[in-house]
Amino acid sequence: MAAGVATGTLRSATLASRIRGRPGLVAGGITALLGVLLVAGVGLGSVAIAPGDTIAVVAHRLFGLDTTAAVSPATETIIWELRLPRVLTAMVIGAGLAVSGATVQGLLRNPLADPFVLGTASGAALGAAIAILLPVTLAIVAFGLLQALAFTGALLAALVVFRLGGSGGPGGLTRLLLTGYAVASVLTACLTLAMYVSGSDLRQIFSFLLGGLAGASWSRLLAAAPLILGACVAMVWRARSLDGMLLGDQAARHLGIDIRRERGILLALASLATAAGVAISGLIGFVGLVVPHVVRQLVGPSARRVLPISALAGAALLAAADLVARLAGDIPVGVVMALVGAPFFLVVLRHTRTGYEL
């Protein structure tokens, strides 16, 4: 819809204007990339497996074809029980974090926001630390105490921030952000204390903080995916409200958006998707911050485009990062993301002019 020449927004101006008008192209391209990453993620790993075997296993499990006569049970287990759920989990969580990030950025009208800005990260980390330190084992629907407390911690933190921060209403979005920062600081202090007294459990707490998808399994995926993907769909459905908020609270109201209600609902959905993701994978940064930015450069700021395409891009990014992490000796995915994401983000920033501000 951007006719004419796009000057001043991107260095590669003509390319940007051509793509900006075609979100379908972008979506298609990323979906193709997802396909490639799925294949690569399942086919590559610390154990070398012939591509033919990979295909045979997938064909057998998906379509019931009798192709696995020559494939060892170990190979089949690796592909179907270990790698495939892990790649899919990475995609689901990546999508959830990216959409939540885009939503929070729109809600707070702040391009520096990420899904953890309202305390979800610190709440999840503290919940996980408590679970690790408690001498109790518990399992609810394929989730251990760790996942349950991380999830609960994230949601509780978000709730506290939302309540204390004035819901972003008349007090302003700044107040909400600052409250998020303050609450996160308190929670992080508690977390640090927990780490200090943790003794031999420190390593477990630390690996949660660094983020990783090693524990992915079908049962966990099937339990978490509906939650995350459902929240994503709900956010995309309400993307219109985010568009309304682009010009400010008053303008949103005048454009027909019920600010208070939408803000509460969208924050709840973003917190839900983030909490469910963090409970499984620990703290993985960057996806929620960087992906919406890049997508916005490609398709414009309209949330109705940014959210769904961010979901695809986030899925691709986390799947790729996890593949790299696995091939590099199973280092934490959060480390890969930071090492790759940060420089990439700097490059993106250099190519973007931020323009005047009031």
Partner: protein, 346 residues
Amino acid sequence: MSPARPRRALPSVLGLTLALLLAACSTSGGTTSSPPDPTGSIAPAITGTPSAAPSIGSSPAAAFPVTLTDDEGTAVELEAKPTTIVSLTPATTEILFAIGAGDRVVATDDASDFPAEAVDLPDVATFSSVDVERIVDLGADLVVAGGLGFSPPGSIAQLRELGIPVVVVYAPSVEGVYHDIELLGTATGETTAATELAESMRTEIDAIEAATHPGDTAPKVFYEIGYTDATGQIFAPADASFVAEMVTLAGGDVITTGDPASYEIPLETLIATDPQVIVLGVNPFYEPTPEAVKARPGWDAMTAVKDDAIRTVQDTEITRPGPRLATGLRNLAAAVRPDVTLPTAP
């Protein structure tokens, strides 16, 4: 040696029960009768094997299938004698080789450095991660992991979810080591060798303990686990820890940190406690010298420094809960009580 292993009642109870059973039945000749069963919860021994390994639910005619309880209290079912074993801790690697199951071990963790055959085996675990894919690819039918977070609990759960039996062990005390040896003997079907090993270790250790406790006062011993030059942090045995027990068995009055969860001791406390002997635990990561210790500021106030009673011992054999424990205790006793004549090594 992992820090902070709180005592757990279960292994001690099992170990105690085991000790009673071992005492009650003979270990040299074969017996086909059931040993006395004080607790009533342990099934009759297997016909044809002379030991009384705890085997709940085993059929009387074969060692397998067997269901055993690991040190975390998890029931682990082994359907057949494992032929492809993966060991995820250095101590369990040593035990497996010592009881004769070494030819069936196909992979270890990267810290397993003894015996020499174990070093050549592929590594499937590091300090922080376990390569589940490779373990599956190797077709492991038994994985031995370290408890208390030594092996990542998530990986243990994942392996179990994939149907691979994982036996988790940890030994907070010397008694626990005997128990773990027997446990691994049951798991691998090397019950005879395991019992013999545990017995000989127990005999030797008991003898050393007896030799170093003739009733006179034990010297105050500071066992230095580590020291950071930059910060001056001193690492000593925690209360009721494995190392503390070893020092006590060696005839020393062990100086501990006063806290079962902390391995750090302030310098003032150490000076106030005034050790008579300082033992330096040397390993590939930490190699202090007596001269360096004497040069540390403030340390010359200690009796041990004044008397030049600073001795080095190989730390690995003392802190690793494995088959070389008796050797380690012997070396430790020689350092703590050089005045005592230790019984000859078997």
